[in-house]
Amino acid sequence: MKLSRRDFFGAAGVGAAGVVALGAGGVAAGRAASAVEGGAAAGSTTGGAVPFEGTHQAGITTPAQDRLHFVAFDVTTDDRATLVRMLQAWTEAARRMTRGEDAGPVGAVTGNEYAPPDDTGEAIGLPPAGLTLTIGFGPTLFRTADGVDRFGLADRQPAELVELPAFAGEELRPEISGGDLCVQACADDPQVAVHAVRNLARIGQGVVGVRWSQLGFGRTSSTTSDQSTPRNLFGFKDGTDNLKADQPQALDRFVWVSGTGTWMDGGSYLVSRRIRMLIEVWDRQNLRDQQDTIGRTKGSGAPIGATEEFDPVDLGALPPTSHVALAHPSNAGTAILRRGYSFVDGSDGLGRLDAGLFFLCYQSDPATGFVQVQRNLRTDKMNEYVKHTSSGVFACPPGLSGPDDWWGSGLFA
């Protein structure tokens, strides 16, 4: 049995029972979490591994991790077999990295010293950190903007997977929008997420090129009821009434694709929007205006007119153009699972932070999910403080059935 380099660091540690229980490779999987966390983080989910295989892809309803590296790729080959081989190689690497192992079987610092290592090394000694890697396929994979069917996939394009309509006020930059493929890498350690994306890009060289990528430093949504609600860069709790993993009926209705008899059953559609927040303008608004804009109190997160965060929203008590009033499921008539992250991408050259929310949401159909919600936000008082600068829509297939399954097996069947 080949031991991962991180076994070296893990030699002293025991514990991390949760990781070992996942079984993946036995010894190889067990190491790093125990070493780095050293038992001090007992009871924390930080460090553990999230199963890569299952009915649904991880990274959707699994607990939202703290860090994100999202990447969109364009496929640069026209050869279907080459693309399939790369997706298989990606799956293998993803399977390994989500277990906390090196991206390749040889590893970062062993092997032929005249060959480039098959792992880049910056995650040596780091635990799995709850890494999830979630793949999605964009509309242009099936048919280019010019209508070319490069990979014989045009007749497999789901009717739901179409470019989003234009929305009022958006200022999309094409070079950071769209993409043939996307990978959402989430982890509790930013270096683990970046390591995963970097290695997938490395493996994909010659088959795909990075179109754009986005880092997110803090989660802005909860996807399970036992997670506390985080705050976004407006300073407000975000995602209080998000769909949660423990609401299976709602997930089946709003998030998972089912009953289509296609390769997408068990999958979900992802919409990404980079939403720049004009935080300097926002910060000049008085507290009452800020609360009236959001529709919640800034301190507790309670809806206006209520006292506790999770009190039911009373639409009659909210300012009618507040964000919560317009976006809430009881008004929008639909629900989406949000999984966004805050970002700060340096500054904008005008003395202001280029900051905001990288909004990600999952739904069973973008038309009755994000599109319906966003259309309802036309009069949202929050629009004054946000600009959508990037947009993407992707079909995320169901989870992998077992150790031989690979990303895209259903689509390319």
Binding site: N112, Y114, A115, P116, G206, G209
Partner: protein
Amino acid sequence: MRTRSTRRTALVAAGAASLALLAACGGGADAGSGGGEASDDIAVAASDTSCEVDATELEAGTHEFTVTNNGSSITEFYVYAEGDRIMGEVENIAPGVARSLLVELPAGDYQTACKPGMTGDGIRNALTVTGEAEQLSDDEALQAAVTDYTRYVTSQVTALQEQTQAFVAAVQAGDVAQAQALYPETRTYYERIEPVAESFGDLDPKIDARENDVEEGDAWTGFHVLERDLWATGDLSQSGPVADQLLSDVDDLATRVQSLELQPLDLANGALGLLDEIASSKITGEEDRYSHTDLWDFQANLDGSQAAITSLRPVIAEADPDLATALDEAFAATQAELAQFAAGDGFVLYTALTPAQVQGLSDSLNALAAQVSQVPAVVAG
């Protein structure tokens, strides 16, 4: 013209010398029977659109080709083995000039090529050689690769000396148009073998430093100073000493190359190094920031990388046939990507490329470099 004919003689002499080296290192039983003497003289009539070789079948052994350039562009002549491994080449054949090439060919299928304008795949003809086939041990195959590539370096550096002389003469004469025309062509011979120059440490900075490579207080010399004078200021009145220094540094390079001792791994690493050069400074348009002739350098780096890999190709094909094929395909793909931007005897300026076109070149280069990065481990065995 007198200078040129003298140099022609010198080149043939150099070719014969390295041929003797080749025969000494790895020649088969019959290959040396001619003792480096060619039994024939095959005429090659090159023009801008044709390449007529006066032979399609040859016996194994040493052959001489005499290439006459009847066209209007500088041309080159190559004999390629499978996978475009260069068996012999003659560079820098100016219009109206004839040059000779001595090459030892074991039995096999070859292609000849004229490259008017020094770019692209060239005008190809099939050449079949019958008789004794080459049987080399692994070590002999590696040594043959080194000999092959060493000969390539020698021929490039000789052409570099000649071309630099002409370029420097134009600068000294204050002929801006002529010097501008010669600048990218001259650099081609340098950029093809840049890792070799870099191996001498002090020479590459003297010949090829860009302004921001030079530390405060150090003198900035070489091609890029003259590039600035030619394109940014148009003032050659102070350029004389820099031009003289360049010629002297190039001559120094040529002298040092004569005692060059390469290892097989140097070829593999050099091939990757040349692609890294493209990725770090040509694809960004940083290299030739005044003239914007970066695509000439791109082509030269690419050709130099390919020359090193094709020298190693028999070794690679033996150890990892799939990699050999993948390398062939990846080089062809990048050559084709770049060929889209050929214009006249050269290329469009870097500034004429759209971001999408630069992206296409970069994607293609990444795909190629990923394959080339596998070669050192194969060579190291």
